[in-house]
Point group: C2
Chain length 558, copies 2
Amino acid sequence: MIVPETTLALPVDVVPLGGLREFGMNTMAITCGDTTIVVDAGVMFAEPDLPGVDLVVPDLAYLEGLGHKVAAVFLTHGHEDHIGGLPYLMPLVEGPVYGSRLALALVENRLEQHSIDVRGRLKPVAPRERVQVGPFTIECLRVTHSMPDCLALAIHTPAGVLVHTGDFKIDHTPLDAETTDLPRLAELGQQGVLALFADSTNVDRPGVAGSERDVIDGFEEIFTSTAGKIVVAMFASSIHRMQILVDLAAQFDRNVAFVGRGVIDNSETAQRLGLLRIPSGVQIRDSEVRNFPGSDVVCITTGSQGEPAAALSRIAIDDHRFVKVDDDDVVVFSARAIPGNERAIGRVMNHLALRGADVIYEGQKHIHVSGHGHVEELKLMHSLVRPKYFVPIHGEYRQLARHARVAQTVSRGTEILVIDNGDVLRFDGEGAAIEGRAEVGRRLIDGTRTGEVADEVLRDRKHLAGDGLIVPMLAVNMQTGELAGTFEIITRGFVVDEASEALLRDATAMIRDAVRAAPIEERTDVGLLRERVRSELQRVLRRKAGRRPLIVPVVMEI
Amino acid sequence: MIVPETTLALPVDVVPLGGLREFGMNTMAITCGDTTIVVDAGVMFAEPDLPGVDLVVPDLAYLEGLGHKVAAVFLTHGHEDHIGGLPYLMPLVEGPVYGSRLALALVENRLEQHSIDVRGRLKPVAPRERVQVGPFTIECLRVTHSMPDCLALAIHTPAGVLVHTGDFKIDHTPLDAETTDLPRLAELGQQGVLALFADSTNVDRPGVAGSERDVIDGFEEIFTSTAGKIVVAMFASSIHRMQILVDLAAQFDRNVAFVGRGVIDNSETAQRLGLLRIPSGVQIRDSEVRNFPGSDVVCITTGSQGEPAAALSRIAIDDHRFVKVDDDDVVVFSARAIPGNERAIGRVMNHLALRGADVIYEGQKHIHVSGHGHVEELKLMHSLVRPKYFVPIHGEYRQLARHARVAQTVSRGTEILVIDNGDVLRFDGEGAAIEGRAEVGRRLIDGTRTGEVADEVLRDRKHLAGDGLIVPMLAVNMQTGELAGTFEIITRGFVVDEASEALLRDATAMIRDAVRAAPIEERTDVGLLRERVRSELQRVLRRKAGRRPLIVPVVMEI
């Protein structure tokens, strides 16, 4: 690698803007001289603790203050926590966005929805390909994960080589035969790696995550023993999982329907790129499911996290346009429960069981494997890369701290730096040190729950007083689902003039009607009911008044 | 068994009042003629979906409408979801409360706090003991569970024998050598059991739960490898777990301190009854922990569910009077996460990791076993008892439905009745059928979070308008923990006269001061901050005005 002489003496600053001491919004800036590249641009899904907020992205003040634009963005793979923040980053970028074909296909639509012109700026890269950006040479390396086409990065800088693992596990038998590039990682390790930045997500789990193929036996049992429909809920990006179900469906003479926006879009994209292969005659449309006997159908669907608006939640309360579940059917939750979603998932499972379906989830049968390496895989990475410095990334503080302990057991020679978002980690000829703090934080975004991504707006919470707070209060009889007493709306900081007063009065009636029209299972489920009230009110206020107040429904049982 | 002839023709009605299609508030009424007995009187801890509510107990309208008082209560064991509702049931009871010595010791204090005179009415029963109540003969049978001294019941009625398992697993090597009475269950099965009512909690889990002893190896590893303090959080009723830790502490020359009200009270009770044996010189007081080097100490504490007020949460943010954790210390979460608590638990873990402690939980090491039998243990129960009818209890709908499927695989001859709270299940000479519905529901209770159990009041939510709603709104900088902008309080249905207005004004200032005085980790943790504001405001309003409005804090990040 030839490095221009003038930059040889320049230090390299690495600044994580998100993804440390938290899960999600993985974003890291790397600067040398007046060249900055950014690795990943992720979102985080909001905690229930933050009512009215749907998405969280990193505050990019640090990048704004650099005095130059970002020269290039590198996406390790196509998950939302690595690409979902790109629309908010793009205004600060003047160069290309590099990523695998799948990752770029997934971001393309999203950027267009934000009216960001990306023609010619999305540059697909292949494993072992190298890209030169100013003083950096970025080398892309194949890693395995829960979706196809994922990359780690070896970033050759004037200060040395930085290895960023992205999300990875070490699947020796991936469905697409594209294994983690252990040989090149080993070679880099032999040649000398300055610093390793590695995924800490599953550091708490013993052993290894296992291959994506490991779920085949569990699903085979289900295909063998199920008389009716098989409905499988998964993350919309689980292309490998889709392939396994398509192959089993073909083998067992069932048809496959994708049900729910996320899996429909992603399966189309993956098919177009040759990453999902569906034998002809196997796929049917969601609207055709009812034309086939249950024994002939597999539905691949969204809603594994109990999201009220997802297809599976609608199916569970018998409120889906095309798909019903009955006595002989089996519903499989082929995903882990993200912490905080357990109760919502449990409610969906109860509704499905009430319809007569047999509900199967992780723990009962082996129908999910994680995409993040467990502790033995992390040790293998450390053992091969043997970096001078190690910085744990992707995890809450306890995962980062444990990853530091694990790294120490593998090599006592590595210096470990448990840093935080905003720490300016400087590498120069002398070594590595934290050289100050960048301004970091979170920006809260609402609006995606309704699916109106194009309407999405950044909302600075300092201006909340302008939009105001609305607390709709309902009293509901949880046995019958009847609204009891009056339906009240409390407002604060929401400018109430004559027009908006009338609007609120109308909204009250509309929500009352909407609740009454909802299925009893929705009306007697506090979580679903709150979401129904919230989204109805949000929709009305947005359409009729262009207002986006914070809406915090309070449901009282009587 | 001799049954008075006059009752021979009378049918037996079994009415579950709680614990079906839900976890918690297990309560079941059994009536023959004018004799009613109640098995268990449990509470449920409220979902986060119900702000301002701490406890939920069953509506007892059915019992009120019987025309006679309850002749006796039988408690299967001392867990809150089986005994916590007793204070609300007692006004309807004219006879004794039967239970094991431990269960009765645990209820005794609680009843006294409610000013319910229990002198002479709490009757300890031993395994294989029989109690006659009108036409019923109730036979107590030992079962193993996560605490000592648990019972199943064989209720001999004019219609036949009903077996109620209580909570159970089949631990072949319990610490106290008191094994589940499989011989008597088998004998009853041979003689003919009319109906089995069995715990469904863990029907989803394969294999067997395992013995309480199974955690010893995991803890031994921790005792061997830990240089500093060992802090173990557990449910306050986990007396077996306490015994294991006491024994290991003695073996490894450490002292044991109980830290937190729940474990202090329960360990005292268990010692008094001879169910927890602590060698002399091993136990120290919580206030003495700081006088010993960490290497000499084990703390047994509360807070395994991330409860903000529990000892472990205070320790985690370095706000505990007696106990600090440091670099060499290990904190073990020796309990499962109850669904819905995962995020709160994760926050406490992060705070502990930030203090330098190594945090260990289920999944990393085998340091917890469940007290509820897994599917193979449930099959054993069915296989021994071979009932004519089977009614799954203790579980949400999906667990009851799965338990029905499991029972079917064991015996195709058993008739399975998946019923609901309020179903009047009648057994007569002819068979069993649902003969109508009893009025059931939930009563919501607030107040226990502050520990002021004596102050606890039943609050009928229909009267909520009288107490009103208070929404304190804070804006906080989540980086610095500084309060930003104004601290506002919105009220509704809270009668605001001059006095209460002044009170609210004072309260606002007091809360602002309390927040400012809190450690930064508490101020930058949305969950802890909301709980701090809620409990402060509740305390002030209760003391100064005797008011108990619903308090729903809204915290906005800026």
